[in-house]
């Protein structure tokens, strides 16, 4: 999506990226980025919480109004929960799930190989 922002900007359309994968968006480089430190999935606010949803929209519009320096990030300041227990859990790799992850990868590669084989046979 950051690549889309860049193409639109190069063609005169102002953009803002609103979301949570801060390192990925900043590494790509976009003109305006409104960051919220939430789990991936809810860039526009907490589900069913109109307060955070309205706040993010109003901050996005304010940033569009005021930002003059490309590559600017603003943090909405919203916090998902006090424990932040979701952070270490996302895409976690540990000794207890390493074998299961590898098995899942193997299963996926086998399925993809079967599809490729089938497509070759059909040609």
């Amino acid at each position: 999506m950051s690549l889309v922002a860049r193409v639109l900007e190069e063609n005169g359309i102002s953009t803002i990226v609103i979301g949570s994968a801060k390192d990925i968006v900043e590494y790509c480089g976009v003109p305006r980025y409104l960051f919220t430190d939430f789990p991936l999935g809810n860039p526009c606010g907490r589900p069913y919480d109109h307060t955070s949803q309205r706040l993010i929209m109003s901050q996005a519009l304010a940033m569009l109004d005021n930002c003059e320096v490309p590559g600017t990030t603003i943090d909405t300041g919203l916090v998902w929960d006090d424990s932040a227990s979701w952070k270490p859990n996302f895409a976690r790799v540990g000794d207890d799930n390493r074998a299961a992850l590898l098995a899942a990868g193997d299963a996926r590669r086998s399925a993809q190989a079967a599809i490729r084989e089938k497509n070759i046979s059909a040609q």
Partner: protein, 158 residues
């Protein structure tokens, strides 16, 4: 208060897929220059659209993901998000307003802080291939924005 450091998604994703047995790490897009288009007119006179990474329904799964557009004045009650890489343990996408701000943007139009809704919103696939995004999907979004007379785009990746 828990950890306030943002999650290192690039490192975490590299390790996650390496654990799945994928040997070649993903290379994220990176540019040193950043384009910038200042607002051409005040927001209160601007036509604004929304660009999402979600898809209309399950027929768009995996490699069937493709550019789509819909009526921004009458968006659907929800989009298909199941096969996107979001945190399915910590949250959910049952409330469209948490990932597609159609109602919030309409409220700003009604309040006069935004000029108007664009006729369409756009959906773009998250693609493994930068080339696919840069040569196929982004040009489609650009062309549609130009056709619709869009001044400003809100990009909301899940």
């Amino acid at each position: 208060m828990g950890d306030t450091t943002p999650v290192e998604y690039m490192r975490r994703t590299r390790e996650y897929y390496a654990a799945h047995g994928y040997e070649k790490p993903y290379v994220w897009a990176h540019f040193s220059d950043i384009p910038f288009a200042p607002l051409a007119k005040p927001l209160s006179d601007s036509k604004v659209t929304i660009v999402t990474t979600s898809m209309p329904d399950a027929s768009y799964v995996k490699k069937q993901r493709r550019f789509h557009l819909g009526d921004l004045h009458n968006p659907p009650a929800g989009f298909f998000t199941d096969d996107l890489f979001w945190d399915k343990d910590a949250t959910h996408t049952k409330d469209i307003n948490s990932y597609f701000p159609g109602q919030q943007l309409a409220a700003e139009v009604a309040a006069g802080s935004v000029g108007s809704l664009a006729p369409h919103y756009y959906g773009v696939p998250t693609s493994y291939s930068h080339r696919q995004t840069l040569t196929v999907d982004a040009p489609q979004v650009l062309q549609s924005c130009q056709d619709d007379g869009v001044d400003v785009a809100l990009l909301v990746p899940l």
